[in-house]
Amino acid sequence: MIGLEWLGWLNSADDFLRVLTLRDYNTRIVVIGTGLLGAAAGVIGSFALLRKRALLGDALSHAMLPGIAVAYLLATLWGGEGKSLPLLLLGATTSGLIGTLCVLGIRHWTRLKEDAALSIVLSVFFGLGVALLGLIQQTPRGHAAGLESFIFGKASALTAQDAWLIFWGGLGCVLLVALLFKEWTLLCFDETFATSSGWPVVGLDWLLMLLIVLISVIGLQAVGLVLMIALLVIPPAAARFWTDDLRRLVLLAGLLGCFSSLCGAIVSALFPRLPSGATIVLCAGAVFGLSLLFGTRRGVIFRAWESWMLGRRIQRQHLLRAMFELGESTGQQAAPAPAALEFSQLMSMRSWSSAALQRELTRAAAAGLVVRLSAKQWRLTASGQQIAARLVHQHRLWELYLITHAEVAPSRVDRDADQIEHILTPDMIARLERLLGESQRAGSVPSSPHPIVPPVEGLGTGEAAR
């Protein structure tokens, strides 16, 4: 049955177009309203996340449900129209704040940890809310109240009035963040220092909490209280994969929040059976997934690629250094052309497998750094020799530095040098050269401070054993 309805939807391409081009006044309101909400939530969520208040925000929004139900009951008791929005939102705010106070109280007065306090308050308040909603269902007009839409969100029901509420509320929140950017940054980074330099930390903290309450309340209709936390947390978490700068993080979180909400609202408008809270969160989730993979600062792929490249560079440098030092130890280094080196001799220079060495040699050959003379003989090219000389030079500078300046036992030097030299910057090399008085012959290679392991005789047996 459902499948048929979907087909019906797909057939009416015109309806699709109407939504996508925002031709309807209603759709426009809904899309603009949720977009603004997403932007404001992303901005405030950045600070909520940095203050490590994500879970408290979740408990807070769940704690709003009983307030909504009580407000409805009170309104109907006094004979008014039950579903008066300002009253419902006031109820939500009040019980959300009570819930927050309960969390803070439990944490302060008992020995329970924060996660326990949060779980208790979240579930008890939500349970109470669900029970009250059940009661409301029994009342004569309860069915039509539509309070459930506060749980999962129903953006399509947004009116122009609601959109204005979101607009002014969101604008107020964003302006406050702009005003108190510096103060909240300090609060989130180092509360102790903020206190010691005289900032009213408790007040700043409460103001931030209040803002989280406010944004959750104005998001109730579009996203719903169960999923509101996602709109606060996911955009800044996703933005963190792209930047290390707080200003950019906040801006980007606003943009990502706006984008996810827009997409979610449009999808929800296309498929009216899907609650908008769910579609918005799913869009935010997709944005997060993409950021996690492709983010340029902390994205998984970027990091993997970086460490893979570093690995490649280290392998290459090991090979070149081994070839140079081998040539040096056989006394042929001074010859105009680098010496031909036996594969088996190279094997003994480091603890690498023959397959790895072979692969590295092939790669270096492709880069024009080494040439293959025969099946088992390789030689550095002129450019390879030049690079290798520079690498060995750096390596030994670093070793010398460690010995003379850091009181490291010479036997341990080689390994440390290995790990650090691959990330030496030209600036550091210049400093090392100055330190060690090597500057007069920048290209020269100082002699190694420790004996280079000589090629082991009878390596063939060793290889056979392997």
């Binding site: 940095l50 940054t185 180092d190 290390d244």
Partner: protein, 275 residues
Amino acid sequence: MASQSQTEAKKESVVASEPANQKIPLSVYDLTVAYQRKPVLWDVSFEIPPGSLVGVVGPNGAGKSTLLKAVLELLPRASGRIQFFGGSYAQHRHRVGYVPQRESVDWDFPVDALDVVTMGLYREIGWFRRVTRQHRERAMAALEQVGIADLAHRQISQLSGGQQQRTFLARALVQAADLYLMDEPFAAVDAATERAILEVLRQMKESGRTAIVIHHDLQTVPQYFDYVLLLNMRVVAFGPTSEVFTNENLQKTYGGRLTLLEEATHAVRQRRRPE
């Protein structure tokens, strides 16, 4: 108003000539601090002479960090009276700089070293105002002073432990305070950082400022500090290092911990006065 026994010892210390610095930067009388019902500090009293470098030494759990935090009103105190430059902390807050322990913050926070140092100026900048170029230049100068100006725009998680410590120090320096309270600045830092911090302390002393430094390495105490506060829930001894940093006092402070005691004996034998 100053207690006589401690001011007598002051003759030896180099006191800067400016009258502003003549006032006792920090005096603590009968300070008692308790966590829940367990007392951590008992009747702690001392007066820090102006222009001195004071090392606070004691075993783990002796209440060293608690002392600094209680003095700065970061922790509630059960009893006691504390004066900064002869007045209250609220009056003289701007003259007091604090360097917390490095582990006290999340270094993954999305700011760079310069941003952190600028935080030392936030109070001076005031509510709602933006950080201007002049502020950033002053922060840069502070980073220069601790020798990591080239790392100003590096995200703080990419700094080494020593560089993070120096960032914290720069944040305190930029406040241009007259009294500095430092919580283990020398803990787990590299040699370059140790030198940089020492140089900063030396400059402070030269300009008549005062620093109170929690320190864990007994060997270097006589070298670094001209006053020492031996603490183990109570003040075991306080005074010029040459008089107070004795084997007997150390034994009282550290109790029966033999290895530490040996270290201390060694340190006392090798005692050298700075300059």
